[in-house]
Symmetry: C2
Subunit: 154 residues, 2 copies
DNA sequence: CACAATTCAATTGTGCGCAACTCAATTGTC
DNA sequence: GACAATTGAGTTGCGCACAATTGAATTGTG
């Protein structure tokens, strides 16, 4: 079924896990959300829910489509997520009067107020990151260019 | 319920989505797996399944625990994933004789052979990334340090 | 040896992500 | 104004991630 380990050629260098940038992103991203988790738990939010709230704290109301464009998520992900935020009393979903296809997402008072409690979180993450501000800036810039190139490639 | 947009203070700079490195990682990581998806579809694999195969192509057999350490995944994720790989005929799961708690994952001939078809994928990703080799190297190194620091922080 | 503590894999339950699809509302074209 | 095409949101189904739990096997300690 399988040949002895010594008898097979070694895995090509390109296929070595620790050489792959994509695994480094996948892994670091999960590590970051793991650090977020206990902080967000105090707010009753998951990381994707926190991201949606970040967008709404910048400007509201936003339609599901607009949220989707900001976050790169589709309605299949956002519809149930926003329903959960509504069940938490943080947002309100309302059909647009001008275009009845659209559903506008409004912050409730509780949802708007939550930004105060969330305001310390980014700094706590930056502290846990163990990188200099310059390194974080450069990382963000490189990741942004990478994401753009990857999106453009298909 | 909500005050008019103009009447509320602007979202603090720290809470702006596009300033957050974590969102850049989350976003770029999903963009990368989106580029992987059609390539891996030809192999019948998802991205996490591909990662598990990468580890096994380096050395096998590996226990579920060893795979979990390499990938940073627990048995709750790996057990069903490995069952799907077994259903695809790519691996075989077998209780260890020395330690009956352990389940050893062996490559089948088909699983070992698949590495040949997978060997071109990393280069295709690197091409789509639009970054220089030096930038990719540095990105991988920075992400590695970041993940280590984040893991250490809790 | 006894037996408490630990380890390992599996299972259950929840919440993404995303493809594929449905359905209603709107827009474009004649 | 008719009607085909498009758009926006929702649903279903599948595969992760991850917390929490279970149960069997092993290890450590007296």
């Amino acid at each position: 079924m399988t040949t002895p380990e010594e008898a097979r050629p070694a895995s090509p260098e390109a296929l070595r896990l620790n050489r792959q940038v994509c695994f480094a992103m996948y892994s670091a991203s999960r590590a970051a959300t793991a650090v977020y988790r206990p902080m967000l738990e105090e707010l009753g939010l998951t990381y994707p829910q926190y991201l949606a709230m970040l967008v709404l704290w910048e400007a509201e109301p936003r339609s599901v489509r607009e949220l989707g464009e900001e976050l790169g998520l589709d309605s299949g992900t956002l519809s149930p997520l926003l329903k959960r935020l509504e069940a938490l009393g943080l947002v309100q979903r309302r059909r647009s009067a001008e275009d009845e296809r659209r559903v506008e997402i409004f912050l409730t008072d509780a949802g708007a107020a939550l930004s105060v409690r969330a305001s310390g979180i980014p700094q706590r993450l930056a502290d846990a990151a163990g990188l200099t501000a310059a390194e974080l800036d450069q990382l963000r810039e490189t990741l942004g260019r990478l994401a753009n190139a990857l999106h453009a490639s298909h």
